[in-house]
Amino acid sequence: MTIDELTQIKATALAELAAAKTPDEVEALRIKYLGAKNGLLPALMKQLKDVPPADKPQMGKELNALRTAVTDALQAAKDASSSAGEAVEPFDFSLPGNWTKAGAMHPVSSVIEETTRIFAQLGFTVADGPDMETEFNNFDALNTAKHHPSRDERDTFWLADGNLLRTQTSPVQIRAMLATKPPVRIINPGRCYRRDTTDATHAANFHQIEGLYVDVKPVSLADLKSTLAHFAREMMGPNVKVRFRPHFFPFTEPSVEVDFSCHLCHGKGCRVCKQSGWIEIAGAGIVDTRVFKHIGYPEDCYGFAFGMGVERIAMIKHGITDLRHLYTNDLRYLKQFV
């Protein structure tokens, strides 16, 4: 046995194993080289004792290396032949998958999230306030006359402790202004309550989202219009336009109602816009200087404010036909909004 012989054996074995195609051929080679009885390598191992002592370590090392090489090659040949030859049972990919399906966000939440995202682009911070409010924050500070009908028991939920369930999210704006000096720029979504009888477009429990920007430098109706025009395009589509109609709110002056051109018919007239081409979306205006007075701001501040009904936007956006669907919480209905 010489080193050369071992090198020769290694080359032959690897070549034969590389050529082996079927598991049977591989098995035959295993017996040939590694078989316990007549295998070539075990036989060589036995001959090691006849090698002169001086050459023994060297020869032993070479033999081990040969054995490792052949074993590895055999394993590789085995793997290759089995995957090539054996038929695996085909998998039925039409079976239902095994993972929890994502849930759906409520359309009211989606509108709030989307709206706050859009106004965040313009530098508005989200603000929040309690549902149970003081009369001052909900009415007095917002310049609502003492005898204004909205203060009626017929319209407002008064509480036994003298506070009330806020009828609008505007008191959050009062809180924000009481807490900081101008400039203030907030968007405040929240839940409101009015003693409305529930029908397809009204609920005693509903959501508003309002925005306020107050500054010591001029903030104009034109600024308000372009801010809302940006929102309209982001929320409803790039071609949606904004129109102002003069109106009245106690806390803004001038006050306007804000229409968006119908995103479905592009102003031609359809069911959603009641053939008018326009959809009433928001109320807005220039913050009344009397509001600044009530909260102790300098009266020569400038500011605009706007507010809109979240349910109404959700209904318009998704073609929801009845507001009550939003509070029935039927999973079959809600799942659509995933």
């Binding site: 849930g103 313009l122 911070t125 989200v126 034109a222 003069p246 509070y327 999973l331």
Partner: protein, 802 residues
């Protein structure tokens, strides 16, 4: 408010404007036309015509083919009426006409192959009577081409106007006409107010005393010694009807008519029924009673203003008259009241008495205090003309009205800054003067205006800017995004964290529901009846179903699960993020944001494993797992669950959720009896958490750690623990007994069996790792032995395989 266009046209020239133009012009000036109504049939394009020829239709046994002359053209018209014949004078609806009955438009048509260019009409089709036996046979002397409206009157167009709360001056036809006058730049034509007077003097015939001049700054009385209760003239009857009022007779109608016309409510008393002919305006006495015209006896309080005579109340001031002094069958003399009342006082009275009238509607918003005399004279003019009335000379008027008009300064630069565009000073001033604001003084920078007395809404500069903005037109505003001021961002992380929580729950498979903040007491009682005392009850709920504020999100979650279950959805994963309301220990009203998560049915199972029933433990672990995932994503501080019996949950299957050592919520199986009553057959597991605690760490900044350098060694322990020993106890003991290099304890199998007699078989995989070197087998084995020994000693567990 109803606004008949024909009435409006009496005070302003609008003949050249279409109905739609009128509506648009005023809507975009701030007075919204909410609806346009046609009252009565419209005869546009329907004319008198002559049938010149009438032959049978070739393809029909009853139709005729006619030639019809409308004075200008001859049309071929197919007609089926049996009385159709040559020579007949009959109404022809030409192409484009809208047939009043059925409101369909006449178009060029073909009837059984013959073309027809119009329709001959029956009386019923024109809504003139019920007659439909044939086409109308009109007076043969009528000229063809005569518009039918000249015979039967035209339809009336009535606007439904929304008058915002700040513009009570527009609650009248003249008020709206005044707006149009400003919008169109045309003169306002006011009606006549003159009348002849008789020798008697009002001052000799009646007295007026005002005891509360704050609430009644002006009261005028005129006396009409003779009136006749004649029917009202046709125009007055029609206009009242168009405005939704019923005509009685001219004496009663005139006060309504004048109120609708100019906005000043009037009241007529039977002169003979006013004791001593003396009017006293005073506050009611506590408990004083009056029977009002609607036949209801009303109890008054001292904050209410009354019109009385020395014998007692005659009317609730500005709201409604009393029965005792009303105009009656034999009334032939009248005392006419025209007064000014303080708006909040009338508002209070009308609200308190729940009595809303056309009069209170106007007074509580604010009527021009200087309108009293004009309105009174206008009524006398009409009564003299249509009720054969005589009017005593002069007026008795008690007057404490402020003599000076309101003055407001307008800074012209501020106008442009607020509106956001350049409006020249002349234009600003021009708009205001067109609205009857009078210039008092002027500098280049500012103008001082006197406010007309009817503009009760105007008392500051912003009011004037609004007038300029709306009259200048809002379409003119430029749409350019403003150069933004950098506003320091307020901390809105709590709201953003809530949003992250919502999105995470959706990603975990939960669908968001939304319930009202108020609910029925029964809904809350079904879960935790014991909280009744600390609930906030609404004093004026809309309905009993919405009469109490929710003090937990769980009861409605339970209700919604039940709703879905009974509507064919037996598996549901739902969440709600909302507020709850309760009285705290001191009775203070408190609100708190919470998150509620619920699972029903096979929510946690794989799609193809939904036959074997859901076990309660399994359901709890699904929800616990979901909460752990949520807490993991939100970096919530360590969360544990401490088993506790809680009302509303099954005994032994509820726990308090503890976050960072503080109670943060509850989790458990909804009481089986409650659930079964709602026919929910599988375990229902619900958890509720305080939002703030859950979200405290949501935006924690991660401090990066390197991946471990050295490999870990793992060892498994299989053990059998006794009843009552918890997983947490086992973990604690292992942690305590193990070395610092024990870096992980994972439970990978749990098994219970009858043979184990209530004991549990558990298998843990322990991970040992040092950050500094590869651990040797010997040291790991030694640590493992120590852990096993501790488990045996402290928790009496049996280690399997020993």
């Amino acid at each position: 408010m109803k606004l008949p266009i024909s009435w409006l046209a009496e005070y302003i020239d609008i003949s050249d404007l279409s109905v739609q133009e009128l509506a648009d012009r005023i809507t975009f000036a701030g007075i919204e036309i909410e609806g346009i109504e046609q009252v009565g049939p419209c005869f546009d394009n329907i004319v008198v015509a002559e049938v010149r020829e009438c032959v049978d239709h070739p393809n029909s046994d009853h139709l005729h083919v006619t030639k019809v002359w409308d004075g200008e053209n001859e049309y071929q018209v197919v007609c089926g009426a049996p009385n159709c014949r040559a020579g007949l004078i009959t109404p022809l609806a030409r192409i484009g006409a809208i047939v009043p009955e059925g409101k369909f438009e006449i178009k060029k048509g073909k009837l059984r192959g013959v073309e027809s260019f119009g329709m001959l009409c029956s009386a019923r089709e024109l809504m003139l009577s019920g007659d439909h036996d044939g086409i109308m046979e009109l007076d043969p002397s009528l000229k063809p081409g005569t518009p039918l409206s000249s015979l039967y009157g035209s339809s009336e167009t009535v606007f439904d106007v929304e008058i915002t709360w700040n513009r009570p001056d527009c609650l009248s036809i003249i008020g709206i006409a005044r707006e149009f006058a400003a919008i169109l730049g045309r003169p306002l034509k006011l009606p006549e107010v003159d009348f002849p007077v008789v020798e008697a003097k009002a001052a000799d015939l009646c007295n007026v005393k005002i005891e509360n001049s704050v609430n009644c700054p002006n009261y005028t009385a005129r006396v009409l010694p003779h009136v006749e209760r004649l029917p009202s003239p046709e125009f007055m009857r029609k206009r009242l009807e168009l405005c939704g009022q019923r005509s009685i007779d001219v004496v009663v109608d005139v006060s309504n008519y004048v109120m609708l016309e100019c906005g000043q409510p009037l009241h007529t008393f039977d002169y003979e029924c006013v004791k001593d002919h003396t009017i006293i305006v005073r506050n009611a006495a506590e408990g004083e009673k009056i029977k009002t015209l609607d036949d209801v006896e009303r109890t008054l309080d001292p904050a209410m203003l009354l019109i009385t005579d020395p014998a007692g109340p005659l009317a609730v001031a500005g709201v409604m008259g009393g029965e005792g002094s009303q105009i009656r069958e034999n009334t032939n003399s009248v005392l006419l009241e025209s007064a000014s009342f303080y708006a909040p006082s009338i508002k209070y009275t009308a609200t308190k008495l729940e009595l809303r009238t056309e009069s209170s509607h106007r007074f509580e918003r604010g009527v021009d205090p200087f309108l009293t005399d004009w309105a009174s004279r206008r009524a006398c003019h009409l009564l003299a003309k249509y009720a054969n009335a005589t009017v005593a000379e002069g007026v008795v008027s008690v007057d404490t009205r402020p003599a000076e008009p309101m003055r407001v300064v307008l800074r012209h630069a501020r106008v442009n800054a607020v509106i956001g565009m350049e409006i020249p000073v002349e234009q600003q001033v021009g708009i205001l003067t067109s609205l009857a604001f009078e210039i008092e003084s002027q500098t280049p920078e500012a103008t001082t205006f006197k406010v007309p007395s009817y503009r009760v809404d105007v008392d500051c500069e912003a009011d004037l800017i609004e007038e300029i903005a709306r009259m200048n037109g809002l379409d003119a505003l430029p749409d350019v995004l403003p150069a933004t001021t950098i506003v320091p961002t307020a901390d809105d992380s709590a709201i953003r964290a809530a949003s992250l929580c919502r999105r995470t729950l959706c990603q975990l498979g939960f669908t968001e529901i939304m319930n009202y903040s108020f609910t029925a007491p029964a809904i809350l009682d079904a879960f935790q009846p014991s909280t009744a005392d600390s609930r906030i009850v609404l004093p004026n709920p809309v309905s009993a179903d919405h009469s109490v504020m929710r003090d937990s999100l769980i009861p409605q979650m339970l209700d919604i699960m039940s709703y879905n279950n009974s509507h064919g959805t037996q598996t549901a994963s739902l969440f709600e993020m909302g507020r709850v309301f309760y009285k705290d220990a001191k009775g203070a009203y408190t609100e708190e944001d919470r998150v509620c998560v619920g699972l029903m049915g096979y929510a946690g199972r794989s799609a193809t494993d939904c036959v074997r029933p859901v076990e309660s433990g399994e359901a709890i672990l699904w929800l616990k797992g979901a909460l752990e995932s949520l807490a993991y994503r939100l970096h919530t501080p360590p969360m544990t669950m401490k088993a506790t019996d809680i009302e509303g949950f099954d005994k032994g299957c509820a726990a308090v959720i503890i976050i960072a050592g503080r109670p943060a919520g509850v989790i458990g199986l909804i009481n089986s009896d409650v659930r079964k009553k709602r026919r929910i057959m599988s375990p229902l597991v619900i958890a509720e958490l305080k939002r703030s605690v859950l979200l405290t760490n949501a935006f924690k900044v991660v401090n990066a750690k390197d991946v471990p350098m050295f490999p870990a060694t793992t060892r498994d322990i299989a053990l059998i623990s006794g009843a009552g020993v918890t997983h947490e106890q086992l973990v604690q003991v292992m942690k305590k007994a193990g070395p610092a290099e024990l870096t992980g304890i994972t439970l990978f199998d749990i098994f219970k069996d009858k043979k184990l007699n209530g004991r549990t078989s558990l298998a843990y995989s322990l991970e040992f790792r040092s950050p500094e070197r590869t651990l040797k087998d010997d040291e790991v084995n030694a640590a493992l032995d120590k852990i096993k020994a501790a488990l045996k000693a402290k928790l009496q567990v049996e280690i399997r395989g020993e």
